[in-house]
């Protein structure tokens, strides 16, 4: 696998198909890190294993690192990352022909305790979409997909409002407002986040439980109908806030309310930019 990835990267960098290649490498501690390769000689730095959890599509909109206008960029995507990429394309942040997509078949990523990530269990796209990627590396995996029951979401929904407020209060009290969740999110590509604007200031920057409530509502709302549950936010959170549960709440709401799942179609826009005349009305006073 890794050989093929290196080979693909090398070829692209060599023939000038891409001027930069985004992949996974290792740091001195042996931890997996994102790497940005400019020369074909560097491809030995590429690695592939079940710790390649990062969603590299996040860097496609990182204006400090990549300027897509300057030439095509190669990127390794897993099936799940590919969904983010489709949203990025639908939202005109990435043009399909500005990138070369190296899809890599994934058989589930593992956390630091060597356990398969929960998102991978219900993942329906271990095999990247061949029609979407430029190359797909790896043997197609056949497996039974576990039905996503949203049990995490339902567990919270089963609580009464006061318990829910207490539960989230506990987590948001912990939140440092380090913005790792936002900054790691491939869909948080705004040039200046609304949270950083101070005139008007939508949420004070200080980390208090109350302020953090509003911060997390805004984060979740802005991802509504867009989030593909790549889980990066939860992974990045240093204080263990179950951010995926929040995102998945909205994914479920969007699925139930608008019969929409984000990340399937690079043409599809968020359901909040669409409507049906007979949308639900039961919440209207």
């Amino acid at each position: 696998m890794i050989g093929k990835i290196r080979e693909a990267a090398k070829r692209m960098l060599d023939d000038g198909t891409v001027r930069l290649f985004l992949g996974y490498g290792k740091n001195g501690l042996g931890d997996t890190v994102p790497v940005f390769l400019k020369h074909k000689e560097d491809v030995e730095a590429l690695y592939w294993d079940e710790t390649c959890r990062y969603n590299l599509t996040r860097y496609l909109t990182d204006r400090d690192v990549i300027c897509l206008e300057e030439g095509p960029v190669g990127v390794i995507v897993k099936g799940c990352d590919q969904k983010s990429l489709k949203v990025l394309i639908s939202e005109k942040q990435v043009e399909r022909d500005e990138i070369r997509i190296v899809g890599v078949v994934c058989s589930g990523m593992k956390d630091d305790n060597e356990e398969i990530l929960s998102k991978c269990g219900t993942c329906d796209s271990w095999n990247p979409d061949e029609t979407f990627c430029d190359i797909v590396i790896g043997q197609t995996v056949e497996r039974k997909i576990e039905e996503d029951e949203y049990s995490d979401v339902e567990e919270v929904e089963a609580l009464d409002p006061a318990q829910r407020e207490k539960l989230w209060g506990k987590y948001f009290d912990r939140c440092l407002r380090c913005y790792a969740c936002r900054n790691v999110c491939p869909l948080c590509y705004c040039k200046e986040c609304i949270l950083e604007q101070n005139d008007p200031e939508w949420v004070p920057p200080s980390a208090s439980k109350e302020n953090n409530f509003y911060f997390h509502i805004i984060r979740a709302y802005h991802l509504t109908g867009r989030c593909t549950d790549c889980g990066e936010c939860e992974r990045a959170c240093p204080v263990g806030i179950p951010l995926r549960t929040i995102n998945r709440k909205m994914i479920k709401a969007v699925k139930d309310g608008f019969d929409f799942v984000a990340g399937k179609d690079p043409e599809a826009r968020s359901p909040l930019t669409r409507f049906r005349r007979d949308d639900r009305e039961d919440f209207i006073t």
Binding site: E91, C190, E192, I194, R269
Partner: protein, 1003 residues
């Protein structure tokens, strides 16, 4: 051709005609006998059926007219004579001296304060005293004082001269003389109006004898917050609040006995209902009773208004004939003696009696009109033919308003617009020179000045001030940071107030203005204009609504209403601080007009626009023109319909400016005022037309009933079918001896709780035609109220005289028809007079079924983005003063699409809609609104979310940035709420402005 039009009369009719003409770029001279324009409407308290404040809705129009550069207003003036010339007329205008220089007077009121001579105040119907130098009322336009020459000591005796001494403006001029001016004009519109009947000639009502008997117009003044009692209802004899108020209807109207006033005055039923409701609102203990013959609630939503008066306000309606009113000398209470429908004589005591007086033509007008060949009818009205409303028979002279017969405000406005369109012929053309645009005003740059907010708190007479503690709001406003000036005004919308505000803006260097008064929806434009005149950008105004949404709805908690008003003011200031000057954009006007519907209204509108020289695209779904009219044979007034229709259709077909699309549907309408593109579908062929305005004349249809066995029995027919039977001399008539006409079938109840307006007249017409030929036949008319309003009343009288039997029934006890066999029925109906059920054997049932809106209205409404009423008819922008406009600019309505109406009314409306459309088509460019989305490119990621939600296609993504086409942007702001980055914002309603507005609430 002389391009000036003379409008005689400055009531709402004259004002509307003047506005429309000016809107078409035609110069107007308006002559008004009184010292102010506004006419009778200015004296009214509220208007039915919405209870809008009369002054509030009228004032903006008056100001608009007065500030139009194309309009000269002569007040205190009269037209002494008109002479026809080769290209128009020459009018001799007498301008009576005011003895006050109009240009100098600032209406400060010092003169009246110091004037020693007290005289009865004519504006308040002489109820109160005024001074010899006076202004009719606070909001009067023009706001100029006048000396009453009949009482002035200086003028009469050379003494006094106080006013001259105190006038700071040096405006008093005792030497002023009456002037005669000769004016050449191209056309004349007569809008002189009628006057109210003087009940003195009916002594049995005791008017002028008993103190506590007043006329309806006097009563309006009592109700008015700006009236003699500041809106407190008191009776004249003891200034105490009456507990029982009686309204006597038809005083001077429908009065065959007195000879001349055999007609109905049209509006009094509703006026009394409104006054009764307002009376009840004044106090929980006041009871209102209306004595009436028929309740003529024939207009849009009138029946619902009457229902509400009964059920919500407890207004009592007593059908009766009044035999007399007697005063109890000690209490000055009044005993109304009346005869009930069953013939009983009853007495009932009241504290106050209001006589609903009708309209009559004043003497003396005839001379002027007849001088140029205009014929008047027996009542002195200048009646036009049913197919030519507004026409006087003399080319170039047109009439509108109550001078043509009694009518209410919207009909007056319609007739005025119609007259304007007639008068405009030959004076406008699609390719005329652009009219002199008002020179682009240089606004001073206030961007560097510190924020200086002026706060004006309106008392609205007592409308606000009786609930909200206005002085404390003013005081509070002064304490808000950046407020450098605050004050209260009695009526912020009056012309003197506007001028006052302008002065204060200049004096205090204000650069933001907050007006706490009524709804910005109705008054924003007025105050904006004031700001403009003061040299400020008009978007530096922020209004807040402390009346409709505060004082009126928190009557019982004045403290909290006051607190709310303060917070609303603070919020408004919060937003005002962040207002920035905005500027409108311009777009070219496409000169064609689209008329939807080839019925009578559509054809007439099309002809009128085309006659004025503009191309019309006339769309009709059917393969023929004429609509409902094809099924009508003759009119109540006798005109032959068939020949008239033939004439009209021929004209349409032959008109070079009319492009006719038969068998054509509208597939879609895009664009905006001045700039529409409509896709037409004729069979499979799709065409598209571009146009600047749209007139909706889609019409309506006869109701299809399932009541009384209609459709199952050939002897059950509708009124319209009966008309054909009569016309065709159907053999059926030979067999039928006894005919029953049942009115209000399926109408005025349940879902169809509206009056179809035409059915009573249709019944009367059918009776007259029937009896003409078959006087022997028995006719029963089972009715709820006979609504032969206005000049239709004499026909009703005539129908009664034919021997037809009129039996009234209640909605709760409808006639019950028993079918014996085909062509034989027994009707059980409760006779109110006999107080028992009578059985009527008849052979033919004629049903007054009324009119339904079209099912397709909904589709058309959606395409045009215009609303429908609850009944499904098109809903105009304002029931009183914008009767053919929609809120959506550039779209107009006429005919039965708007609601049921008679032929002449449809035509008048068609002409009115044409006139309104012409006010757009005659312009070369129109201004679009200033509120528009704009993009902060530094923040924009080009994601296109905004473009996705824009309904107008106004946003496109160009080079990774969103770009807004300001001409397409309607300023809804949906994009701004969709943007995650806060990159797109809406001027006038920016994120920051809105946040700053509500933030003030939490300080």
């Amino acid at each position: 051709m002389n391009k000036r039009v003379l409008v005689i009369g400055g009531g709402i009719g004259g004002v509307q005609a003047g506005l429309d003409l000016a809107g078409m770029g035609i110069k107007v001279t308006l002559v008004e006998e009184k010292p102010n324009i506004g006419g009778r409407m200015a004296q009214l308290d509220k208007t039915f059926p919405t209870n809008d404040c009369s002054t509030c809705i009228l004032s903006p129009k008056l100001l608009e007219l007065a500030s139009s550069p194309d309009v000269d207003i002569y007040t205190c003036a009269s037209v002494e004579g008109i002479v026809k010339t080769e290209d128009g007329f020459v009018a001799r205008i007498k301008k009576r001296a005011r003895f006050v220089d109009e240009k100098k007077c600032t209406a400060c009121g010092l003169c009246a304060q110091k004037c020693p001579v007290k005289v009865p105040d004519p504006f308040n119907k002489n109820i109160t005293m005024s001074k010899c130098i006076r202004i009719p009322y606070a909001q009067a336009v023009p706001a100029v004082y006048m000396i009453d020459r009949e009482h002035c000591l200086r003028l009469l005796e050379g003494k006094c001269g106080v006013c001259e001494k105190v006038c700071p403006a040096g405006a008093i001029d005792y030497e002023q003389q009456d002037e005669i001016k000769e004016l050449s004009v191209g056309a004349v519109i007569v809008a002189t109006g009628a006057e109210e009947f003087t009940p003195r000639i009916r002594p049995e009502y005791g008017y002028g004898i008993y103190e506590n008997v007043v006329t309806s117009i006097e009563y309006e003044r009592f109700l008015s917050a700006s009236g003699p009692t500041n809106g407190h209802i008191v009776r004249p004899s003891d200034q105490k609040e009456p507990k029982r108020v009686a309204f006597i209807q038809c005083v001077g109207s429908r009065d065959v006995a007195s000879g001349e006033l055999g007609y109905c005055s049209s509006f009094c039923c509703m006026q009394a209902t409104k006054d009764a409701v307002v009376t009840c609102e004044h106090g929980p203990n006041i009871r209102s009773t209306i004595f009436y013959i028929d309740i003529r609630a024939y207009g849009k939503d009138f029946d619902r208004f009457v229902d509400r008066a009964k059920t919500e306000h407890g207004v009592e309606y007593k059908r009766s004939r009044i035999s007399g009113i007697i005063e109890s000398p000690d209490t000055k209470n009044l005993v109304v003696r009346y005869i009930t429908p069953d013939g009983a004589l009853k007495d009932e005591e009241f504290d106050l009696v209001v006589l609903s007086v009708g309209l009559r033509m004043p003497d003396g007008l005839g001379g002027l009109l007849e001088g140029i060949g205009v014929k008047l009818d027996a009542y002195g009205f200048c009646r036009s033919g049913a197919f030519s409303p507004g026409d006087t028979g003399v080319d170039g002279v047109y009439v509108c308003g109550t001078v043509t017969g009694p009518m209410d405000i919207p009909e007056t406005v319609v007739s005025a617009s119609a007259a304007a369109s007639l008068a405009a012929r030959g004076l406008v053309s699609p390719d005329r020179e652009p009219l002199g645009k008002a020179a682009d005003r240089k606004e001073p740059d206030t961007s560097g000045s510190p924020i200086a907010v002026g706060v004006v708190v309106c008392r609205c007479g007592t409308n606000i001030a009786s609930v909200v503690d206005v002085p404390s709001v003013v005081e509070y406003a002064a304490s808000i940071p950046n407020v450098t000036f605050s004050e209260e005004l009695l009526y912020a919308c009056s012309q003197d107030s506007i001028r006052h505000i302008i002065n204060k803006i200049r004096e205090h260097g204000l650069n933001r203005v907050v007006v706490a008064s009524c709804s910005p929806r109705t008054h924003e434009a007025l105050f904006q204009k004031g700001l403009e005149q003061a040299g400020l950008n008009k978007y530096l105004l922020q209004m807040t609504n402390i009346r409709d949404q505060c004082s009126w709805v928190h009557r019982d908690t004045p403290d909290r209403a006051t607190e709310k008003a303060k917070e609303l003011v603070r919020m408004a200031v919060g937003k005002a601080r962040h207002l920035t000057p905005l500027h409108e954009r311009y777009s070219d006007v496409k000169k064609d007009c689209l008329v939807i519907g080839g019925g009578l209204a559509g054809m007439m509108a099309a002809l009128d626009v085309a006659d004025n020289g503009f191309v019309v695209h006339l769309i009709e779904q059917e393969s023929f023109l004429g609509g409902n009219l094809l099924k009508i044979k003759s009119l109540l007034t006798g005109e032959d319909v068939a020949s008239a229709v033939e004439r009209i259709v021929k004209r349409v077909l032959e008109h070079p400016k009319i492009e006719l699309f038969l068998n054509t549907d509208i597939a879609g309408i895009e664009g905006y005022v001045g700039n529409f593109t409509t896709k037409l579908l004729t069979g499979d062929r799709e065409t598209s037309v571009e146009h600047g305005a749209v007139i909706v004349a889609t019409g309506a249809r006869e109701h299809v009933t399932e009541s009384y066995g209609y459709r199952t029995d050939p002897y059950v027919v509708t009124g319209r079918e009966f008309e054909t039977i009569l016309e065709k001399k159907n053999p059926l008539l030979k067999y039928v001896k006894r005919i029953a006409m049942i009115q209000c079938v399926d109408s005025r109840e349940g879902e169809r709780n509206y009056c179809s307006r035409v059915c009573c007249s249709q019944a009367v017409k059918n009776i007259l035609r029937l009896k003409e030929r078959y006087p022997e036949k028995t006719v029963y008319v089972l009715y709820r109220d006979m609504r032969t309003y206005g000049l239709r009343e004499p026909y009703y009288t005539a129908a009664r005289e034919t021997g037809a039997l009129f039996l009234r029934y209640d909605a709760s006890r409808k006639p019950v028809v028993e079918k014996i066999e085909q062509g034989s029925f027994i009707i059980d109906v409760f006779d109110k007079i006999l107080q028992e059920t009578v059985r009527l054997p008849v052979q033919l049932l004629v049903l007054g079924v009324g009119i339904d809106p079209l099912d397709t209205n909904d589709r058309v409404a959606k395409m045009l983005k215009v609303p429908l009423t609850q009944d499904g008819f098109f809903s105009e922008a304002h029931v009183k003063l914008r009767p053919v406009d929609f809120s959506t600019e550039g779209v107009f309505v006429c005919g039965m699409a708007h609601g049921p109406k008679h032929t002449d009314e449809s035509i008048a409306q068609a002409l009115a809609a044409a006139a309104r459309a012409l006010t757009i088509l005659t312009r070369d460019r129109i201004r679009s609104q200033a509120y528009s989305a704009s993009v902060d490119e530094a923040l924009c990621t080009g994601c296109g979310t905004c473009a996705e939600v824009c309904a107008y296609g106004a946003i496109e993504i160009d080079k990774e940035k969103a770009r807004v086409n300001e001409l397409l942007c309607k300023g809804c702001g949906t994009c701004t709420a969709a943007c995650f980055s806060g990159a797109i914002d809406l001027s006038g309603f920016t994120n920051k402005q809105i946040v700053k507005e509500f933030e003030e609430l939490f300080i």
